[in-house]
Amino acid sequence: MKKIAYTSSKVLFYIYSALYLFIMIFSILSYFEYKFGIQIPFIEVIENRPKIKVPILGLRINIPLNYSILIMWSAMSYYAIYFYSFKEFLKVFVKKNMFETKSLKRLQFFLILNVIPLIYIIILTVSFLISGSAFRLEDDYFIVLAHLVIAFLIYLYLDVLKKGKHIQEENELTI
């Protein structure tokens, strides 16, 4: 079961990485099609708005050619790191000896990654307050809440691992 979960996370990471690279490359190329009219496959410009057609998955992704693209790229980069870290997190449970400093570091990194969206949501809420617009409970809030729940569970795992590491060290020092 653990191996299936780890293998699935690996597959998920590689699929996402391929999609990430594809979107990154073609979002840059879409600028050239938009600006110079160069015909580039998988890109179409409709009403001055470039779109990327993702093969196999059949997705059509709107590419904003303003500062929003930075938010899109940073979100995509975050999830590329997130899925990699998720894969590494599951690897801890597959390993024969899981009570290692390396495993603890992996879990700590994954914990931090799950807390990072909190910063984003704070900025989002502050921007609502500064702009004076009516507060809207967007999907982003639920995604962040899910990340925080995951962070809490990882925190508990981390505690178990720390205690396990301590017991193992004591056991290793029993001659």
Binding site: E170, L173, T174, I175
Partner: protein, 68 residues
Amino acid sequence: MPIIVNLDRILAERKMKSKELAEIIGITTANLSILKSGKAKAVRFSTLEAICKALDCQPADILEYVEG
């Protein structure tokens, strides 16, 4: 730690090398070194028995309590 391991002294008295003792009692020299340096958290009775047998001594000759 207030428990002192006097293995070095007993080994010197018996003119035995650490490597020899490790081989006789069936532990690695690294573990014997941990035991000698006082870094060990616990000693198994089986290990203590093997050491006493190999060095022909009592547990009290090896372990000493020093108030500190």
